[in-house]
């Protein structure tokens, strides 16, 4: 699916990266612990998180993640959004909670990748 598909499934809003919505995404991970994301993410293209700080953007950068989805209606501040824009990331925001967000994307065919 594309980032746009994920956005529509979650009824999400684009905060940054409107121009990159047609990028392909193959798998996703969801966590508020960036250490766990760094430990277990292999070739994930979407990161779902409820954590709102600059280290989310840096973690995404280190892992070549394409799109960050802030769940539970979390709103990142301008510093975070600017950092994301500099790195050509897409940032989405959804009112769905983490469990539901992951479930909706999984149901639509986006998987978590190999264990």
């Amino acid at each position: 699916m594309t980032v746009r598909d994920a956005m529509n499934i979650l009824g999400a809003r684009v905060l940054v990266g409107e121009e990159h919505l047609d990028r392909e995404v193959s798998s996703a991970c969801g966590s508020d612990m960036m250490s766990d994301v760094l430990a277990f993410s292999k070739d994930h293209s979407i990161l779902l998180t409820g954590l709102c700080n600059p280290q989310v953007i840096r973690t995404a950068e280190m892992l070549d993640i394409v799109c960050i989805i802030f769940v539970r209606g979390k709103k990142p501040d301008q510093t975070i959004l600017d950092m994301a824009a500099e790195r050509d990331l897409v940032v989405l925001e959804t009112g769905h909670r983490m469990f539901s967000s992951c479930g909706l994307l999984y149901q639509a065919g986006l998987h978590g990748g190999a264990i």
């Binding site: 612990m33 250490s35 430990a39 954590l51 700080n53 280290q55 973690t59 950068e61 280190m62 892992l63």
Partner: protein
Amino acid sequence: MADAIRLTYEISPEDFTRAGEASSDVKNKLKRLGMPPDAIRKVSIAMYEGEINMVIHARGGKITVEITPEQILMVLADQGPGIPDIEQAMQAGWSTAPDEVRSLGFGAGMGLPNMKKYTDEMKIDTVLGVGTTITMVVKI
């Protein structure tokens, strides 16, 4: 080693917002040098975890990166409290990070295990009350 590229970074203490800037810069430089993506990814993750650790546990420090066509060598030196029990610190999930750090998304006890996982060689030299030096190598 004539064509080695050497980069040095001072890691600012207790500035969590800026933690990761050095790793980000190294990642960009490795990309520009046309290094293999797999090696870039390993270096990025290992160095980023190390950089975060220096900010969380050790009041910052100094990172030196040496890039050659054969390998990328990272030396992370701090003057922090030292690691009392390396074996324990290497266990996945073991952490001494305060709740404040956990609320920032770190301190899950995955830092050192991640650094080991993503590098080909890793050596920890630590002296209590003096500091810790972590040397990591990613082979090309």
